[in-house]
Symmetry: C2
Subunit: 142 residues, 2 copies
């Protein structure tokens, strides 16, 4: 149950969650910008840290059209962050992996984000932190 009275009115809980999310997004945006990356490229590097997914799998993960992924990977490849590799099992599929340079950028970026978000949560108690994990599991699943 939420607190809204009319459907078109702002719900304090919904608003709080949206504001919180934009605050986190802002941190991610600024962190990525420090490494001269967009949030989408940040997400891409995150996905590739422990996987070499196909173009279609990246599209599914980012909830974007396949055609958008072609350009995304083009730009990342042009910057030397990722590489395309033809799948040996199915000649139609292209797998994407981080280059050494890309892995290095991903690591630095993760360190920056960790520091900034940790700073954002400076006033949070241990209970608050447990709650973040609980909430995320609830919403995202896992």
């Amino acid at each position: 149950m939420s607190n809204s009275t009319r459907p078109g009115d702002a719900d304090p809980l919904v608003d709080a969650l949206a504001q919180l999310s934009f605050a986190v997004l802002g941190v991610l945006t600024r962190s990525a910008a420090e490494h001269d990356l967009s949030v989408t490229q940040l997400r891409l590097l995150g996905i590739l840290r422990d996987r070499s997914p196909s173009m279609a799998q990246i599209a599914a993960r980012l909830e974007l059209d396949r055609s958008s992924i072609s350009g995304l990977i083009d730009r990342a490849e042009r910057r030397g962050l990722v590489a395309r590799a033809r799948s040996p099992h199915d000649a139609r599929v292209t797998n994407v992996q981080l280059t050494a340079a890309g892995a290095e950028v991903a690591e630095g970026l993760t360190a920056t984000v960790n520091a900034r978000i940790t700073q954002l949560l400076a006033g949070a108690t241990a209970a608050d932190r447990r709650q973040v994990l609980r909430l995320a599991a609830l919403v995202v699943g896992g």
Copy 2:
């Protein structure tokens, strides 16, 4: 204190918060798309619901350059959602307000977002919900 071992490693708490934020952003993106709007236009309508800020104030709120706001308002104005009004106090400043059509769209959009986010929080307890408010206040301030 977080749980990370090396600076470049993923911090579970940071990761959870990022995933949560992307999930919320996804809901906002899809909700906006249903009304044929971008997330930025959604944020703009939200800002204008109870205010008629100047271009500069909108830029500050969205953390964007003034020049980006010109285009943003151009496109919203072209769609009949907002209107520019010269300030009577300072001829340099332009205030932006929702039109009747814009207010209607904003209301419908809010209803959609409320429903979707409420659905996202379907499994949350009353304590979880209180915690969202607490966390948001902590991070965003207020």
